[in-house]
């Protein structure tokens, strides 16, 4: 069906080609700055693809039809000029472009506005900036390219989820991710189901988008920019425009075929540094079954009896590097663009095949797309955007999962020959051989556990654009976003995660078959009225209606106990439980947007939107959100106009209010499926019903309320855009303040009330931030260009209040008893919370145990109560983007600098606990900790006994008993400076290519994450185990980020 439409479309467009009477035009193009001629300027007849290019002397000749009315002159870095054809000789002086000012930006609801008219901050990223690093994940490719946009990846695994935030998180437990809008259609970008620290990660759906399809991305950061989207806009909007073939006309060509192939090779950025002195065992005694490496010195062991009863000489094995292989990412894409007076389109197909740094983790993705517009008549345009993606991800068990292969790779004792010894017995492949019980041998886990998911997705929209009279446009867009994720997580018979290693014969095993389906419809009608008093006032008014409806169904069949090893059918399990969740929501919104401008000096804009929301109580269902913004281009005042120092300057200010609705089905307390100790706690399974032949229900722990209303986010923003030094310096500065009040969150209740939490509107989080975008063009000439763009952003958010009686709530790492990510009144959001060193109040120093009888004599004491340890958010983030062009060669480099911020390191905690990290290598040197010494009296008060003078050794007791008991000991600063991307692009000279009928051909090479400076030990601080709003606060033996090198070729016919 779609193919037929496509062919028809092409045919219709191809038929159009008419020629009439012609005449010749000629002239010279020069620069208004210095009067020198400009070669290479594109000259075309307005409204056609007919055109030419100025020669080395800046002169051009062009044959045009009699009917031609005007010529368009365009050149990179110059303002495009339209000149009416009044004679046969037309000379033009082009003015240099004021950086970014004349650009037309796609704003909310697809409304195109000149950047200079905006009263708020918007930042654009071009498609090539996103794709040149060869990153197949769109969200990750955004990192560092937009001031205020922060991307946190969960791991370096292909298809791993990412958390994207714009201007930080302000919702305590709700959604903090921006809305993604592709070609006018809001689409899903988040992970569809929650995961905890022991589960496999679930892919974020932004992965389905092919970065190569993107023409540009506009990030609407503040609420004033995004308010038209209503409820969904409180975290900013990422407006994506895909390639559509428009803009092709300048080259005077009707069609263009582009082939693009790239290959990148990945390696881990950081692996832990391990000790190589001590053997497996505990308290200095070798034990071939221990998980600990507190055994004897390997050098003093000599021959010993290993786990299999064989005699073996003690030596050190490298167990870590064999697990890593070079990851490969191959991307191939072909697309066709077409443009004529009748319309334009782009269609293409792309395939990305990525294998991870640990096999079998992998991702492959097929994308097919069409985006086009057809001019039915001079008044009516019709268009369609259609995207199909098929994304297949193979994952690895992660986090505290007992099948996580990295866990016992990193922490395998140095004396254990993980890669030389068999990982299972000869007679039973499901009976594992491993240095420790319960956990899977990593090689076995990689071979037998199998976690896969595939998502098939169709999204897109159809639109009609009706322009009956010059002052009015009617636009209707109907969009949909449908996807189905189908997956199977198989933990094989005998797998540690399912308790399969605890019995004499392999047991356990689990198969989860799951299906998640989501359908979204979106209907959007808008009418735009325009009015103008020439050279004085311009005004526009848009009225619109948006309805969206999202339905989802998540079906899981969890089969426990695999009967026949190796047979992965759900019927091959002893018992099955079925879980189903369905969700529905609908939002009906009406909106307006009124703009008025005076002489290009003052721009005023206001928007309003009223939403009616299904998942709020009936009496609190309808909400109105306003915004106002103003821009003042003060350099247009006569006194300042055309001054040389500051050719352009604008002040802007805005205020907006938007909301965020709570979770679905939030108004009635319910009963849920029964179960005993079946989540959290010590047991993997507990009791699940039906049990003993009977089903059971239990009252839900959540107390619901009918008094809910949407969360309210108020944003105040002001800023200035300045252009200096003949436009070689551009500075955009934004200052903002956000008040997020009436937060909808589960307020923890005293459990003695019989409920765990109550869903309420409460609490306030404020955010204050600054953003700079500084663009420098130090050199701009025919053969050499240099552009530096610096994105700087910093923000501080603060939990002002929660609710009466609660000074903190946990927002991440729910299943970890010792440590959590919390919202804590008076602190930044989130903070890492856990046990702390006992400190002497006067000196601030830590206190060590002065009780000479205690095994922990001279070692740090733990404070009585847990408390906030450190902020997660960085102090600031800077992205330096450098781009050089030397003739045909373009070199670009991005450097990211993150300063401050903290993360709890599960990797370091475990590595120290097990005695595996290099820090535990020195177990004999006496140390005296810089501390006070003291003890606890009978009433639990600290008594300081003086300055510490107690010598200790940093051995098993120190690391495994004392330091591992103090969360604070393994919280580290996440500061890093990294060379994010380097890309080289060489355009082959046209002279070589024209005989081959090739318009352009470029070869390119890129590197990603090639270099990093950080003090964070043993891990890449950019990855963190994904747990929603706690993301960024923790890592727990995740796959490290990858560094890559690659190359590619792009050919345009």
């Amino acid at each position: 069906m779609r193919t037929g439409f496509l062919i028809g479309f092409i045919l219709v467009l191809s038929i159009f080609s008419g020629m009439a009477q012609t005449r010749n035009l000629t002239g010279t193009v020069s620069s208004s700055e210095d009067g020198l001629p400009i070669p290479g300027v594109s000259v075309s007849v307005k409204g056609t693809t007919n055109g030419t290019i100025s020669d080395i002397n800046g002169t051009y000749t062009l044959t045009v039809p009699e009917s031609a009315k005007a010529l368009i002159f365009s050149f990179v870095g110059m303002v495009t000029q339209e000149v009416p054809i009044t004679s046969s000789k037309i000379d033009v002086a082009l003015k240099p472009d004021v950086i970014g000012v004349e650009e037309v930006m796609v704003t909310a609801m697809g409304i195109r506005r000149e950047k200079k008219s905006l009263g708020y901050s918007v930042q654009e990223v071009k498609g090539e900036e996103l794709s040149r690093g060869g990153n197949p994940n769109l969200s990750n490719a955004l990192q560092g390219k937009v001031a205020g946009v922060q991307v946190k990846q969960s791991s370096g695994m292909p298809g791993a989820s990412s958390l994207v935030t714009v201007r930080g998180a302000s919702s305590l437990t709700g959604n903090n991710q921006p809305l993604y809008v592709i070609d006018g259609m809001p689409v899903e970008n988040t992970s569809m189901f929650n995961v905890d620290v022991a589960s496999a990660d679930r892919t974020s759906r932004a992965l389905d988008i092919n970065p190569n399809d993107i023409e540009s991305i506009n990030v609407l950061k503040g609420a004033a920019a995004s308010a038209l989207y209503g409820l969904r806009a409180s975290n900013g909007v990422v407006v994506i425009t895909t390639k559509s073939g428009s803009g092709l006309g300048k080259d005077a060509k009707k069609y263009q075929v582009t082939l693009n192939s790239s290959w990148t090779f990945d390696e881990p950025t950081v692996t832990p540094k391990l000790q190589s002195t001590y053997a497996q065992g505990d308290r200095g005694v070798f034990n071939p079954n221990s998980s600990l490496s507190w055994g004897p010195k390997i050098s003093e062991m000599g021959e010993y009896t290993n786990q299999q009863g064989q005699k073996e000489m003690a030596r050190v094995y490298d167990n870590v590097s064999p697990i890593f292989e070079t990851g490969l990412n191959a991307s191939n894409a072909v697309d066709l663009s077409y443009n004529s007076e009748m319309g334009n389109f782009n269609t293409g197909i792309a395939y990305t095949d990525q294998s991870g740094i640990i096999k079998p983790s992998a991702m492959d993705r097929l994308n097919a797309k069409f985006n086009g517009m057809f001019k039915v008549s001079s008044k009516l345009k019709a268009g369609a955007s259609a995207n199909y993606s098929q994304t297949h991800v193979v994952k690895l068990p992660a986090g505290s999962n007992l099948s996580n292969p990295l866990f016992t790779t990193y922490f395998a004792p140095r004396t254990y020959d993980l890669w030389g010894k068999p990982f299972n017995t000869e007679d039973d492949p499901y009976k594992q051989i491993h240095y420790r019980s319960f956990m899977d041998n990593p090689r076995w886990s990689l071979k037998y556990n199998d976690l896969q998911e595939e998502t098939k997705r169709v999204f897109g929209s159809l639109f009609l654009d009706y322009n009956p009279v010059k002052w009015m446009t009617v636009n209707y867009r109907l969009g949909m976003d449908n996807f189905v994720t189908d997956g199977k997580d198989k933990y094989e018979l005998g797998s540690g995660e399912t308790g399969g290693r605890s019995t004499e014969m392999p047991s356990g095993g689990q198969i989860e078959d799951f299906m998640y389906r989501q359908n979204q419809w979106n209907s959007n009608l808008s009418i735009v009225f325009n009015a103008e008093i020439p050279n004085a006032v311009k005004a526009s008014l848009a009225l619109g209606n948006e309805i969206y409806d999202i339905r989802s169904r998540h079906l899981r069949i969890i089969g426990s106990g695999i009967n026949i090893g190796g047979f992965g059918n759900i019927s091959n399990t002893t018992s099955q439980s079925v879980l189903e969740e369905q969700y529905k929501e609908r939002v009906f919104g009406v909106y307006y947007n009124a703009n008025i401008s005076f002489k290009d000096i003052l721009f005023l804009s206001t928007t309003g939107r009223n939403d009616i929301i299904s998942n709020m109580p009936a009496e609190n269902r309808s909400f109105f959100y306003p915004s106002v913004s103003a821009g003042l281009v003060f350099t247009e005042w006569n006194a300042l106009k055309d001054n040389k120092v500051l050719p352009y300057g604008k002040l802007r200010a805005s205020f907006a209010q938007v909301g965020q609705a709570g979770p679905k089905y939030a108004t009635k307390t319910v009963y849920i499926q029964g179960g005993s100790a079946n989540s959290g706690g010590f047991l993997d399974d507990g009791i699940e019903f039906p049990f003993a032949g009977y089903p059971a229900f239990t009252l839900d722990d959540d107390l619901k309320s009918k008094k809910l209303k949407p969360q309210n986010t108020m944003t105040y923003e002001t800023g200035v855009d300045l252009r200096f030094a003949q436009n070689r310096i551009a500075l955009d500065y934004t200052l903002y303040h956000i008040d997020a009040t009436d937060q909808i969150f589960f307020v923890p209740m005293a459990k003695s009330t019989g409920f765990d939490r109550q869903l309420l509107n409460a609490g306030k989080v404020t955010t204050d931030g600054h953003e700079f975008v500084l663009t420098l063009k130090p050199v701009k000439s025919k053969n050499f260009d240099w552009t530096i763009t610096t994105n700087f952003s910093t923000y501080e958010n603060k939990v002002v209040s929660l609710t009466e009686g609660a000074d903190r709530i946990q927002v991440g790492f729910q299943n970890f008893e010792e440590v959590g990510a919390f919202a804590y009144v008076g602190s930044a959001f989130p903070v890492i919370w856990g046990s702390k060193f006992l400190r002497d109040e006067t000196s601030g120093k830590i206190v060590v145990n002065s009780d000479a009888d205690s095994p922990t004599y001279g070692m740090p004491l733990t404070a009585n109560e847990s408390g906030p340890i450190a902020e997660v958010n960085p102090d600031f983030e800077v992205g330096f983007n450098n781009s050089f062009r030397i003739k045909n060669l373009t070199i670009s480099a991005n450097i990211d600098w993150r300063q401050g911020g903290h993360m709890y390191s599960g990797m370091n905690y475990l590595g120290l606990y097990y005695g595996m990290l290099q820090e535990t290598e020195d177990r004999e040197t006496p140390y005296v900790l810089d501390a006070m010494k003291g003890h606890m009296d009978e009433d639990g008060n600290t008594v300081i006994d003086g300055v510490n003078d107690i010598e200790i050794q940093k051995g098993r007791t120190y690391w495994s008993n004392v330091m591992s008991n103090i969360t604070e000991a393994t919280v580290y600063e996440t500061t890093f400076i990294r060379l994010r991307e380097v890309a080289l692009n060489y355009d082959l000279p046209k002279a070589w290519l024209s005989p081959l009928n090739i318009a352009n051909m470029s070869v390119y090479a890129m590197g990603r994450n090639l270099f990093m400076l950080t003090d964070y030990p043993n891990f890449d601080p950019e990855s963190s185990t994904s747990t929603g709003n706690g993301t960024g606060a923790f890592e727990y033996v995740a796959l490290p980020n990858t560094k890559s090198v690659g190359f590619g070729v792009k050919i345009t016919f």
């Binding site: 221990s290 420790r436 507990g686 459990k751 019989g754 008991n965």
Partner: protein, 465 residues
Amino acid sequence: MKKLIYLIAALLIVSCSDAIMDEIDTNPNEPEDVSINLLMPQVTTNAGFTITANSLSWYSSVFIEQTCGVHGQLMDADQRININSQTFNNDWTYIYLDQLMDLSRIIQKGTDEGNWKAVGIAKILYAHTFSIATDCFGQIPYSQALKPDEFPRPAFDNQQAIYTSLQALLDEAMADLEKPSAGTLTGTDFIYEGDAAKWKNAAWAFKARLYNHLSKRDPQGSATAALDAVAKAFQSSADEMKLDKFTEVATQQNPWFQEEADRGHHSLSKTMYDLLIANNDPRLSRWFTKINGQYSPGKNGENQQDQSGSLYSKFTPELLSATTAVPIITYRELKFIEAEAYFRKGDLEKAYQAYQAAVLTSLADNGISADDQNSFMAQGSVSPGKDLLTLELIMKQKFIAMFPFQSIETWTDWRRTGIPQMQNIYGSVPRRMPYPDDELTTNGANIPSGITNAKGVWWDDGTED
């Protein structure tokens, strides 16, 4: 064209009417109300699972050295590490959210519906749950608990008052069980299949246990009251209260078995080993595995980590399998209570009879052959005669007889009597569990201050803090 516009406008407006929006907002996943028969399997399971035989029992077990903690949190517990406000959050959930809230719903619904049998059962389980909670934590919310609208931050009641209330509640429960009851209740009661008479026996058993807990506060009164209750409670092990529904399926197994399979935190302790080997106890071989032909106990606090069971003796399938029943309160416990109470009253004759019956019941309950029972009982160290009977002997044998599942009760016994002698070098046994962080953060103002793990609960040291 105009008609089309009207049609579209009408469609748009209808699409967001309250009726349609309400329909969309109807929860298709979870019900708003369920019957008593759907709640009863949950609460009767909890009674023998999360309340009696979960982490409270595992920590108690290593505290009093019935087992040795050989890995993870329980090895930490033996080294007195991480016994803090983070440790018992889950248990507070099991007690208040999972068990007591559902029980209070059954009491409410049963009262409304005239299902007095369900009300009686629920009140007994309610008393059972609160008694475990207060024995572990001391003062806890009782009178204001489980009423979220009225008391969002419930006050903490004194343990003495709670004990009085629980006795009264058990009496109420027995009265309810006498009333004619509407509704049927058989298979969904996993403990006694709706047998009111057996539930009444169980209520008397709990009354006996709770009276006996007051041995330090009122030695004589508590003994008299306990003996009176014992007489009306179980007459044999067949009457005992237990959860015996476990299967081999992973999600239906005995909780201790699951803990061993998932975590492997326990092993034979030296304290237990010393008690068993002293009398050549046949339960040693019945209960524990050998390592290289030898029983290998871990000494609490000084042992090495041994999750795999390669260093220290673990449990035999006879002691612990997937389907082993979890006792909640037993006939043998009552016989030990009887022995202890008579001993307190100075009636050595009856104390000795009850003691011998208690030990024999334990041996029989554990499948020890008649010959082995006889030769064990024949030893002078086991049967010294009534005049040489000591509290130490009674409590040591009770320590063994209550193994492994009833460690919370054994911890209570130890706190009351100090028997047997502990061996852990890492300092004294905690005398209570620290209040969990969840309650501290939400109800901190009401939590008694100045409490440390070393301070006894009211029946232990006579003070509430």
